[in-house]
Symmetry: C2
Subunit: 137 residues, 2 copies
């Protein structure tokens, strides 16, 4: 995902192009880290000191719904990153210090041979946690 494509997607859906949204996308661009909602807020306040929680959260969820961002919950806080498009469905190693991610192509759902016939599977989560090379002691 890149800014151009994100803005295009938003336009197609009739959403307005606001400076706050552009700035949010800029913050995410080029990052392969998950970032806490709180951290996004702080970053944006550097340019828009009066931006409110509402704006940030509303937009984070909007962008996630539109699949421009990916979300995950780490230690009770929601974190976000630009949706990856290196390959399709995949998972992540996530650094518990800095949020840096490494993509894991393998999806465990292919291998589960437990009998789940009577269960209606809707979703799954596979994440590996640890320290990236930069964050090791």
């Amino acid at each position: 995902m890149n800014i151009e494509r994100a803005l295009q997607l938003l336009k197609e859906k009739g959403y307005k192009r606001t400076r706050q949204r552009e700035r949010m996308l800029e913050i995410f661009t080029g990052q392969d880290h998950y970032i806490a909602a709180k951290a996004i807020l702080k970053k944006i306040q550097e340019d828009f000191p009066s931006v409110s929680f509402d704006t940030i959260y509303r937009n984070l969820y909007l962008l996630t719904d539109e699949e421009i961002l990916e979300a995950t919950e780490l230690e009770g806080e929601k974190h976000f990153r630009l949706a990856c498009d290196t390959y399709g469905h995949h998972h992540h190693f996530i650094c518990t210090d800095c949020g840096k991610t490494k993509s894991i192509a393998f999806c465990p759902m292919e291998q589960v041979n437990e009998n789940l016939a009577e269960y209606e599977v809707e979703n799954h989560k596979f994440e590996i946690y640890g320290k990236c090379p930069q964050c090791q002691v």
Copy 2:
């Protein structure tokens, strides 16, 4: 995990045997469901109307640290269940309605062949979400 063993473990560590703790363990016994902290509180209040948040949360975390309970975070709320001892390390299907679980013996870490040599893996999470037979529409 069963009550006797849990109480034994607590005793060995020098923790006191309180009525509240016994009641908590009773509530979990025989359940293969993840239960929200809030729900535990309500249940215990039936017997101890004046029990406080503090008691519940402190004990849920204590029991989790002692590996008597297992915890997971579902929709921003922590949920708990008795640690399974059907077999060793494993994962769960979790019903998003009632919290009922089904054990999944397969662990995806065995299959990951991405090169994580430079990454210090500490932990992982694999959960499948959906509706159990009882909760399907």
